[in-house]
Symmetry: C2
Subunit: 332 residues, 2 copies
Amino acid sequence: MRRTVKIFLIWFLLTLSVSIVNGAENDPLPSWNEGASKKSIVDFVERVTREGAPDYVKPEERIATFDHDGTLWAEQPMYFQIMFAMDRVRAMAPKHPDWKNKQPFKAVLDRDIKALAALGETGFLKIMAVTHTGITTDDFTKIVADWIATARHPRFNRPYTELVYQPMLELLAYVRANGFKTFIVSGGGVEFMRVFTERVYGIPPEQVVGSSGVVQFQMRPNYKPVLLKQGKIEFVDDGPGKPVGINRFIGRRPIFAFGNSDGDQQMLEWTAAGSGARFMGLVHHTDAEREWAYDRKSPVGRLDQAWNEAMKRGWTVTSMKTEWKKIFAFEQ
Amino acid sequence: MRRTVKIFLIWFLLTLSVSIVNGAENDPLPSWNEGASKKSIVDFVERVTREGAPDYVKPEERIATFDHDGTLWAEQPMYFQIMFAMDRVRAMAPKHPDWKNKQPFKAVLDRDIKALAALGETGFLKIMAVTHTGITTDDFTKIVADWIATARHPRFNRPYTELVYQPMLELLAYVRANGFKTFIVSGGGVEFMRVFTERVYGIPPEQVVGSSGVVQFQMRPNYKPVLLKQGKIEFVDDGPGKPVGINRFIGRRPIFAFGNSDGDQQMLEWTAAGSGARFMGLVHHTDAEREWAYDRKSPVGRLDQAWNEAMKRGWTVTSMKTEWKKIFAFEQ
């Protein structure tokens, strides 16, 4: 008898340990704590993918949209595309000696953030104009690719593409494994993001929606057509522009959307207003140590109105500090 | 010996007949004659999909773009979206008694094509304005879906979606089976096409690039957001607009493009200018009996400059009359 009990105990412990190991191995979201956000994500995905269930959604309708800056990668001390533009001004400066005494370029060259901030949107638009226009789309792609490969984030001294959030990479892979088609819907420039989204997020260029400038088709000698980037903004994919961008580029309403700031509120409202099960999520930047902590008063990635809305309407708000075991892959 | 010969003969004939049957069964393009077009298509697809071959293209780069009107479905006596707009004017007329005496509506209600033609673009734009704007995108989708389900083509007395070209349906399926991602890139309205492209062509809404009007996000009571179609043209995806639309929506250069008119020339030039193997094709409407015959002088779907270009540069020009065994699926 005692021998039977012993064998049973060994069997029980073996089974238990195997299932613990399997559990960890099979967890599609290992960087997420077992908190409310993870539960709401997994519950939603299971509800819409269970065939025959009332909330079942056909695979082709499983559209998931993700904001980029502050949702998939960091956005401090400034949106990374602005960091790119400022690096680009510095790289172009030797050919523009007058910039040394001319704003907003002087502020960029002097790394005088206060002066730059004082110049406001006008200064910003001038910087974007000289760095993003007057060149072909092919040349722009090369310049961005070179910057992405070589530039380093000032705080972490790592390539910007290492400042992507590990939990969000897992989330992208998890919903895709469940038949979702993942899109980026960002206020950032579409031609900037497309250079690296496939490699970094597994999101191909045709699934990236963003802001854009006018481009013009020109036929150059020897049948060499180019698309020339013009100095005119065509579309701003932010705030109420996000549902417009989703309608224009995707043509279907998402059933799952994740953002982090007031600029994502209308995308989440548009997602919520469809029939059937819906998931609306916001990343809340609460970890000054591992990342940054900011919300209602931040000039970059402000989360104020959308947060109120989320609390009123029961959207998922994910605290980085308490719900993410790991923020960046490089963390110990 | 004689018996051996006999057995051999039987075996030979059996093998032959099996391979003939298999050949027909396995032909991915059964509605195409064994002409130059079919050969150039199959050669191209085999070259870019053979792993290790010099022209091999990775699946994610296999972007194929197709014009819509005159390339995937017919476009006579007028673009079908204009037929829709005219039907819509007639349906709306009871609520607009003044239209009886007001151009261009009078011409539409009187079915006076000459008067309508005389009013030119101004008349056309007025018709598009009253039928395509001032409503939400959701309502517009319902109206188009209803029209697609009920309207009949005047010559064939069949739903417009039966006027799709059987050889092109086979071509779409063939390139997709070879790892291509198929896109429509059309001068037609993107919200009009998306209503039926998935069902008819297997092309989902997010792979349709087209012309668009401005839409505006509005929040209505009870958290009901809508997108309202405004009376302002935003983007014309035709001629030089096609490479612009491809850049904006897809963000990669196609390696395969098919059109039928001068409005497709720049799309084909843009496709041709990439490195590696490329396929550029034009449908030539040469069959007045089964479909229509028109090219250099047609006001709809004119093929003149692009045809010259095709001949100069060795693009594939497909004569419907001689290369397509069947044009429409309903043909005997």
